[in-house]
């Protein structure tokens, strides 16, 4: 098995085509279609598994990742503020992106582990959903304080009724209610085509990443260093937490990947409305222009190697 899964090659094809300014773009409607399918598929898969065990068993993991999301955002903020010399709003917004997660990165990790036939805890999609939210709230509070002016109703609406949360949670609930047999009929679309759709998604992500290169040049070195160092640091935290929670090797690699990934769909949309004075180009350049390609190409194999090593070294310590 070569290091380069074909889906990564699709990402590179998009990236190179974009950099060469080739006449290639996926229509926006197709990008939407593909991401709707991926979000629903991830949710459905998780929901089927949730039905198998009482939700209370999962409570520790659920609480732990919520705390992790908050912690990662709180960790990133002072770094951005002091070392990056970003304005309060910009630092808060970027911190929110890095405390939250990227569903695309998650999907690539699923494919990575899948093609190596490495199992992972099946409630990961639930953790994915839970991780999307807390960092956003932390980001808003960091930018605004717990001000009376913030319309928390509107914020909650933006956060909980954004596309990715609705489709992930909707998928989870449908999968949970329908069970494995119920989903047989829709398996060809949502599960069999998953990896192919992911390939198209990554083709487009490559094209989008290429458009970030201009701003990368503009905002310079700090963004690049932060965009690589932050996921590395986060992945160590994710790995530690996974060990503490007693996750399998696959689950450890997944949690490290979730920690390391930075949002580029849910968080930008909310921040644009809730912290408008933050420059959206800054956070997107970091998360989409640096961290996403880094994770997809180098990060995921690295986090998996780290999970193996950590389990070999400390694996026996936790229940």
């Amino acid at each position: 098995m070569s290091m380069l899964d074909p889906i990564i090659l699709f990402f590179l094809l998009g990236l190179i085509s974009g950099l060469l300014r080739a006449e290639l773009r996926l229509p926006a409607a197709i990008y939407e279609f593909v991401s709707i399918l991926l979000l629903l598929a991830i949710g459905l898969k998780g929901g089927v598994e949730l039905a198998k065990q009482p939700l209370t068993n999962l409570l520790p993991d659920m609480l732990a990742v919520i705390v992790m999301g908050v912690a990662l955002a709180l960790l990133a903020f002072p770094v951005l503020r002091l070392l990056g010399r970003f304005s309060r709003a910009d630092a808060a917004a970027i911190a929110a992106h890095y405390g939250s997660v990227s569903v695309g990165t998650y999907a690539v990790a699923v494919a990575y582990l899948g093609s190596r036939q490495i199992a992972f805890e099946e409630h990961m999609p639930l953790l994915l959903v839970l991780l999307e939210v807390p960092a956003i709230l932390v980001g808003i509070v960091l930018a605004r304080g717990i001000s009376r002016q913030t319309r928390w109703g509107d914020v909650a609406h933006e956060v909980f009724l954004g596309k990715s949360i609705v489709l992930l949670v909707g998928g989870l609930l449908i999968g949970w209610a329908a069970g494995p047999e119920g989903l047989i009929g829709i398996k060809p679309l949502f599960f069999d085509l998953f990896k192919g759709m992911l390939a198209l998604f990554l083709l487009e992500m490559g094209l989008i990443t290429a458009t970030q290169v201009g701003s990368l040049r503009q905002y310079g070195l700090f963004i690049v260093v932060f965009g690589v160092a932050m996921p590395l640091l986060s992945s160590v935290i994710g790995t530690g937490l996974a060990l503490a929670l007693g996750l399998s090797i696959g689950g450890t690699a997944m949690l490290a990947t979730l920690a390391a990934s930075a949002s580029y769909i849910a968080v930008p949309a909310v921040m644009r409305i809730s912290v408008p004075e933050a420059n959206p180009t800054l956070s997107l350049t970091a998360s989409l222009g640096v961290t996403f390609p880094f994770n997809v190409i180098f990060g995921i194999p690295l986090y998996y190697a780290m999970a193996e090593w950590a389990h070999a070294t400390w694996g026996g310590l936790t229940p």
């Binding site: 926006a28 487009e204 989008i208 408008p276």
Partner: protein, 100 residues
């Protein structure tokens, strides 16, 4: 045909603002609006419309001069600093002045 003069206000801005802006525009007195999807470039850079966070919309409002003025002033005060947005107006002839 009796014609009357009204103002056509055109706003070009980030697609993310659609829901918020149409609420404000109606609150400020417009009886309707028309929206088309767009892409473009301005002071805040290129907006390709390749994916959700990066599209523009083009909002047109037919209204009287006072409403156009009110909407312009409000948008300038609340959105110009933080959002990609331009706004312009000109006179048009309409057939049913009572409608706008």
């Amino acid at each position: 045909m009796t014609q009357a003069t009204r103002t056509l206000l055109t706003v070009i801005t980030e697609a993310a603002l659609e829901t918020v802006l149409i609420r404000e525009i109606e609150r400020l007195g417009a009886n309707g609006y028309t929206i088309t999807d767009a892409r473009g470039k301005g002071g805040r850079g290129v907006r390709h419309a390749g994916w959700e966070a990066n599209g523009n919309i083009r909002i047109e409002v037919v209204c009287n001069a006072a409403t156009a003025e009110a909407i312009s002033a409000y948008l300038q005060a609340h959105y110009y600093d933080n959002y990609a947005m331009i706004l312009f107006t000109h006179d048009i002839a309409v057939l049913r002045p009572e409608k706008f």
